[in-house]
Symmetry: D2
Subunit: 413 residues, 4 copies
């Protein structure tokens, strides 16, 4: 057992740290100003484009994607990517996008890399890897408990050489962005099939007739419009060529599983970076802000918060790293319990850390003047995204109690 | 000891319940639509005006204000008002405003009723009681720990027959609204005086030259523009007649204390109403939403949440009621420990209840489709508003440990 | 609504406070010495006898028992008894026993008063009210989840003029004491009857042939031998006259419900007294003990603990009082949700307060030198006694969610 | 970075696992019976002697002690020892003692190995390594906050060729055991010296005139008499040769630091083993015990508990292992923050896991019939042993806030 990161990891970490400190953090107020100045706009802002160019030059590009069957990708192993991804979490609105490592595109690129035909990869994956277009993932539906895949209401039926999609999806992150060109849609091709063989995934170009972007949704009070927002979408007799099927019919659930494993660990990595950023802000504020005769850092409660945060971050980072190592060595499926564990533990810890940082900052902490409020909202949302904690707790609890757990409980739920 | 509310209380509760069920709750989507349709608008929306007329007809008007020295007011005792205020919390954006019982106007009206001259009352209190104008309270400042009144940076100095105000304030709720005509501003008239005698309060008409509304602030993404928002304000050589002083010079701190006691209990009452609303939504959702083979209400974790919420609400409501009774019988000052206690306990409990309700609702819970996300943000903000929990905990802890506690720790901090 | 206790309550509280301060607290080291000196002894110690005489003189005797059908009792209403019971919790090993208000005798006396025949009352209730004998309640069984009454394994069958009891019980508090003369035993008379009509209760004199006191049990290391310990008992063909049936056949479950309501509120009242005692000790220690340059009371964490304890105690006391008021005014059955609420909330809050007091005291807090460790163990046990929290949470949660709740979920479970 | 334990570790783990499963766990009831049968006896019981012989044969002996300057020891690195120590925590009363790896002897042997003269090692260390004698560590004192070393009241002054010791110590674990031959005593040799140079350590044979074993102390209700108990000791003009000084005068504090680092990590390792044992018991109980129509494992709350326990154990184990790796690679001093982190985090997590296991077991969980109650008491005590959590939190918080931290805050406090 050895806790020292290898040389390659250290090199990427140094490069990323340097890039983020020198380029990304200073760009935060620029982004804020650009977003402020363009209220109805859902596109990627110019400052992000500039950072993308700079990141690409430094080799900080598509690092999330391990080399795949089509020769695309060329990124890092999960274990090596983890600390880099954590660093991007320090500036969550900018750094992941700058390095083309932002959800939901990352997950969609993974799907294409693993399950896409060469044609699909050429058409969609390459421009995504090149950040020329963006994508969205359409799984969650209004009106049903989406963590229970058997309840999916969207229908995808074959008619001749086409699939016809009908249904409603929401919280399709990024889909308000006009540069979002493709939607990966999960629907039922065989509603009477076995519970986890009913679903399939199809690629739906966003400009296909019948795709109605109904409205943007907010998360707490945020519309996240610099990131393409969160859309409700109605699919009304949307027809795509049969070649747009991703994988085979009935594999939708299995594909979703494959997608969610890495997606979850990426979220957790970035969340730890958010916590570290919050701790930096916390530290500075505690030392600078004076109340009742001394700096806040002099107060026992403030010190306790700092200590508890540090302990949690250190322990959870190790669990994330071990999970990454397992994914690399025994595969996502064997690592599913660890993935569930971090999916449960990291967001709640990070949310608590952010909550306390906000508390230290007072009203300013809830405002847009610091990144804390936005990160707090994001960490709160993470307790629901990709399945609510309670679903993961139940599945992990069953495993711990050695109860029979259906294969499906591994990752998706 | 008797836990039954008296007849008068029951009558007002029935009337308020009826009004809220029949008029206020159905108006919520109307407000949402009106707000949606008018993005840059910070005024009171038409639906609120209509509800105000209806509430006034029913005698549900200004109930927060006990009869005062000027013959104005005519509201209820704290004990009788408490359950009515709780009911208004069920629809926090509409009901308090509809019944002219919304912060910060309530606190400002109280100040005027208690400390205002007959002229001040005529000029400002009467139109406020009549809802013809709105008001804001300018205490918190950017750049200092505002719970420590000795740090206030705004200066109010006398020049001849005028006071000249210079400084910056923020989180002045309601001040973005053009109908907000007066600002009650706390500043230092005697920076070298005794720690809690340095401050004074002056009434500053919002249209006085030198009053610069700098920008609106957000709270967890919300701009609260239907409620006049939260403004940052710069006061630059703002001159008001000496007659605009509220109370005497050096009494600013004492007046703030007087204001914050009732303000805090009102917040707590409404917060309990928010919790009850959340529990109604929780109950319906748990019974209707099906996942993994049955309604969510069948799950043990969901039942536990419901039970724990019920226990907390019941216990804390009693503590709020007892505090109200103490304020009525022995006075706000003697009730200061209980006021601190509810200020600490209620928001954190209500926030937890809302958080769990959001969790039950999934992504929808964080969206604007249900009132939960907004109430969650509001309850989070309550842990900072009128002094962060930690300041109150420290003061209450000192009292519990029988340490000498300065008079000032009673209410403001 | 009125939060002031009436004159009668105040008089009893004054008397009890005086008695406890002057007589009971000084007797604590005496009891400790007497217990220490008599390792194998399970009887009531001499100092308790002396205190009983003193309490009786002052009219502080059997206050728990409201006047009953047989003219026995003569105690206080629940609302009036509550603050007196709380005071006895300040010295939980001595005060309740001194005032003949200690479990399990109180519950057993209530059962006899409500369900006993005149003969049963004469034989058993009178000497219990006179503290000449002690009693135990035999409900919990090893090997089954005793909160599920349908699982009770003990059999009570009629043979001619007798009932024959066979089975095993444990955690029969007080039953190691040779002065414990009667056991009230719950068993099944009709195992094939309706779920909550299978059980009956019989009075079994402890010296009946076939009653085997198997062994004493410990609770977190404590044998509670000054209180008669906790016994495992085997009943082997134990024969009692049919006249020893308490109530009618099949009423065992209903009788248990009747017993547990008051028992639970008494536990909660005393637990609050334990918390107040702990806070007194906490306060003194925090002011006296110096570390790292100042008294512990100077530390923010210590103040926070004191404040949070005070808030919880104040809120929960009101909930207990309201529950008592409901029991007096609408009856135990209608008050069952409130009884469940305090049963859940009080022990966990009191345990946390005790835990923090122990933490302040350091190693001494876990030793026998202060009452904290013992009270901590007692409060921990309360989360299991009379049904684990989780059973109550589930029942209360079902009620809150408006799910059908069987009558049986009111009190026993 | 590599999370796979090396071959040597795996071999020792296999051996230890096998020994514990086959020999130690079956011996638990034997120990219980031997302890039960000998109430006044504080010595090591026969079954422990037998297990010691068996462990020694298997090479499971003194593994805690890395090879030292005197050629003694021969144990494992911290990283390799960690999983073995964890396994011993599964049977905390037997396994550590069986493998001669039990506190406080381990810490005392470390001190002798690192700071002892050849003579001291020959006289004391060799028989300790051979388990022929036992030892105790006398640091904590009644009447002062012992985590503040400057408050130590025991005096050790030089008179000619002797040191004279006067003072009182308590919670000297193991010192009730007549086989305990030496006491390592911390006292002040220079009360007017620099704050952390006032203290020295001397070896005091337990049978020296003037050593008065005052009484045994309990921890919650346990006297731990199979482990030599916890003694209060009075030192009254106790004279030992000057050669009994450990290290140099004024080095007492530094030596204590050196002792506490490994001591704390050992405690944490064993605590994780306790948690794993509890989870095994939890799992079996949840699957076997039926209530309200099904096994407890069917209940959502039970599953949640199992899942949360698993997550915490996995994360904290990694933090312990990383700390061990740091101690091996950069030294105890550089690893002090991580040592503090695990000292804070592990006991509170393990206590919660044990508490929930107890809750699942019901009353039985608090009794002596299962190891849970005893382990719960032990984990509770760990939050105080070697310094209360709050002292560590404050020190770690200061470090996190980059405040100046005295060297002394590294380990002892």
């Amino acid at each position: 057992m050895d806790f020292r990161p290898d040389e390659m990891t250290r090199a990427f970490v140094d490069e990323a740290q340097n890039f983020i400190d020198k380029h990304v953090l200073p760009a935060e107020p620029v982004l804020a100003a650009q977003v402020e100045a363009t209220p109805g706009d859902w596109t990627v802002r110019p400052v992000v484009r500039e950072l993308q160019a700079a990141a690409r030059e430094r080799g900080l590009w598509n690092l999330f994607l391990p080399p795949g069957p089509h020769g695309l990708g060329g990124g890092l192993s999960n274990l090596r990517y983890a600390p880099v991804a954590e660093l991007t979490g320090r500036s969550p609105r900018l750094a992941p996008a700058a390095m083309n490592c932002a959800a939901p595109d990352t997950g969609n690129m993974e799907l294409l890399a693993h399950f896409g035909t060469p044609e699909q990869c050429e058409t969609w994956l390459e421009p995504l890897l090149d950040a020329r277009i963006r994508s969205a993932f359409c799984m969650t539906e209004p009106g049903t408990a989406s963590s229970d895949a058997s309840q999916i209401g969207t229908r995808v039926h074959r008619e001749g050489g086409e699939y016809v999609v009908n249904g409603r999806k929401w919280f399709a992150t990024g889909a308000m962005n006009p540069d979002c060109r493709l939607l990966i849609v999960m629907g039922k091709t065989d509603p009477s099939g076995a519970r986890h063989r009913q679903q399939s995934m199809v690629i739906v170009p966003r400009d296909t007739p019948g795709v109605h972007i109904v409205r943007p949704l907010t998360v707490l009070g945020y519309d996240d419009r610099d990131h393409g927002g969160h859309a409700e979408i109605r699919f009304e007799d949307v027809r795509v060529p049969a070649a747009n099927l991703l994988g085979a019919e009935g594999e939708g659930f299995a594909i979703a599983q494959a997608r969610l494993g890495p997606g979850r660990i990426h979220h957790c990595m970035r969340a730890l970076g958010m916590a570290e950023r919050a701790l930096d802000l916390f530290r500075d504020r505690a030392n600078e802000r004076v109340a009742f005769g001394g700096p806040l850092a002099r107060q026992g409660v403030v010190r306790t918060w700092a200590a508890e945060a540090r302990v949690e971050v250190e322990a959870l980072r190790l669990l994330v790293l071990k999970t990454a190592w397992l994914m690399d060595t025994v595969g996502n499926r064997e690592a599913r319990r660890e993935i569930q564990a971090i999916k449960i533990a990291v967001p709640r810890a990070v949310e608590r850390i952010l909550d306390r940082a906000v508390q230290l900052f007072g009203a300013a902490g809830l405002s847009g003047d610091h990144p804390l409020a936005e990160m707090l909202a994001a960490s709160r949302a993470m307790r629901l995204a990709d399945g609510p904690d309670e679903v993961h707790l139940a599945a992990l609890g069953k495993a711990e109690l050695r109860l029979p757990t259906p294969a499906s409980e591994g990752v998706v739920q």
